[in-house]
Structure formats: C-alpha cells, structure tokens
Symmetry: C3
Subunit: 138 residues, 3 copies
Amino acid sequence: MVIQETFEVATRGRGTHDLTREIQQRVAASGIRTGIAQLFVHHTSASLMLCENADPDVRADLERFMSRLVPDGDPLFAHDAEGPDDMPAHVRTLLTDSSLSLPISGGRCALGTWQGIYLWEHRTRGHRRRLTLTLIGE
Amino acid sequence: MVIQETFEVATRGRGTHDLTREIQQRVAASGIRTGIAQLFVHHTSASLMLCENADPDVRADLERFMSRLVPDGDPLFAHDAEGPDDMPAHVRTLLTDSSLSLPISGGRCALGTWQGIYLWEHRTRGHRRRLTLTLIGE
Amino acid sequence: MVIQETFEVATRGRGTHDLTREIQQRVAASGIRTGIAQLFVHHTSASLMLCENADPDVRADLERFMSRLVPDGDPLFAHDAEGPDDMPAHVRTLLTDSSLSLPISGGRCALGTWQGIYLWEHRTRGHRRRLTLTLIGE
C-alpha cells in the first residue's frame, strides 16, 4: 500500500515550524498501520529535523549554534545572489536533512516521547515550502 | 512484506556501540531478500551512523571532532536542564542521523566492506535507548 | 514492486559529480509510478547530497566550507593511514549523507526545481564508488 500527499507550509522567516500534529493526522488518515513514512522538502534552503519538543530553548539554541557555525555574509562564500543568508541557507540544509524517514507503528509515526517533527526555514524571509509525504506499508 | 521490530540497547555513556551484527541477524531472520531497511532511534540525544569499521581510531577521532565542534558547557546554550552535555547531545544528534536507510540485497544489509552500523550515545552517562527496525521488500 | 540496481561511478578526486540525470533515467525505466527511491553509497569517504543545481558557485562554496570546518591534516586526528585527507573524508561523510531517500511521483524522483542529486568525493584522489538504487512502489 502506497499513499502520497503533497502540501505546502508558509514559513514566517528563519526559524522552526512544528509539523508533528499535521504529519500524525495524515498518517492516521492513510489507514497504514505498519510501515515507513518519508517526509521530503522540495527546497535547498529549508530542511527537516527531529528535535526535542518540550523546551523551546532547545530550538533557539540550535538556531544560535547554526548562526555561529555558518555566519550570514561570510566572505568565504561567492554565491550571494539572494543576499547574505542565501549561501548559509544551503549549508544549513546540507548539515541537517531534506528528508526524514520514520517508522509507522499502530497507525502513527512511532516517535519517541521527546521527538517532534520540525520544518526549519533557513532564509530570513518567509517562503511557501512544498513537502511530500510518502507512506508505504500495510 | 513488512517486518518491524523494536528493541533496546543499553549504552555505557558517551561513545559508540556497534550494532552491525545485530542488525544483520535481524535482517537475515526476516526472510526479506531485496528491499529497504530503516533503523530508527527514538531519542534526541543519541544517534546512528555508518562508520569505518576497521580502525577504532576513526571513531575516537569523530568523538574528538564533535567535542571540539560542540563543546560541553558552551555558554552559547540556554538549555542545560540535565547538565553541560544536555544541549551538545541534541546538536550532535542533529548533525548526525536519527534514522539510517539501507538497501537489503541477498537477504542482508548491503553494506560496503568498511561500513559498520553504530549507535552513538551523546550523553556522558549511559542510557537505555529504544530502536525500531522496519524492513520492507520481498 | 521492488527494483534494485547497483552501479559504479568513477570520480576524479575531491568534488561533486552530478547524478541527477542517471537516477531519473533509472527511475523512469523501472516502471514504478509512485513510491520511494533510496540511493546508497557503499563507502565511508564519499557521500550523497541534494544541492542547488543552477549556480556551480554553490558547490564550490560548500567545498570551501567543508575544507575550513574539517581541515586536511588536522593534528586532532590520529587516523591518517591513507594521508591527510583520510580522516577528513570520514568526517565529511558523517556530516552529509550515505543515503538519500526521495519520493517517486509520476514515474520520476519528485525533486524541487533547484534540487540536484550529487555524489561528493571527499578523497583528494579519484576512486570508483559503488552505489545501490532501491525503488519501492507501484
């Protein structure tokens, strides 16, 4: 059994967007009880991550860590066609994930207690981001 | 054909734990000859990696690299509820993988000669870590 | 339906190799219309990435970023059996991906407009790199 859905998320600039509830609802509605969920983002300047879901400081700390590791406007970068956050957005995407692969058990994504699913916008301005969820199982 | 198993691994504090043999045995026992294996860890402070399996210095070097890149007790981090290794464990997990997706060929994970499957505990103290292996194929 | 193919790519030393056309041709030829494509590289010193496909400066910038983050010959590393680029190649592989998981829609990998599939050779000398493409769907 293969179920595939494409949808969009409007981001509000750099930062994280919690997708956990939406993904769980889509998995539950699919009728698949056991299998694999693949979530994919069709962009190279926004990415996906699993992250601690209880303390918002964790996501703020991840943002600070990434901003220090990959500074906007770094003179190392030649590619700045869309501004000082252009190339850092590509590097951040590379260091995180364009695709999450999750187990489906009992008709839902079998996340750990503290795992949430987040879309991470790396550009300073908001964008519409397209995602595809593909579910395979029985 | 979908096979799914959940199991636990007890870690002994920060460092790597070789899962190659256990995963290969589970894949062989499943009866699936060709397909995809997904290994998932249900935590945000331990992760999975494929790594060179011959020289233990490689894993020691990875540990040193991560300790330098993401120092314990870094004042950058606000989230330190569980100690100086708390937030670094989340960052290390982000930079590595919560999920490995591997090909199954001839009834086993088709790893390269030098590829081993490792669980990487990022907290300084040992934990019980829950993993789910999902196999899809024929 | 499960289709699996193994093939080799000859790299010409450190740098990226565009696999997009080859992967799309293999997916189209498989007859699978909707599902999941898993591309896997059987090595720990070369990796896979999705990357912006329009401006070659982006890949040059990624190379410069990685060379700065993980310098060849870094005295931090004990493992240098194959030279100053040996251990950095393992770290770069860890920080990027050994496996890409992509949606198949309408008989092709549903990449975003600016997403290309690249093999990244991390050793300074060229190698023959083995890859396995596994397609599951209907």
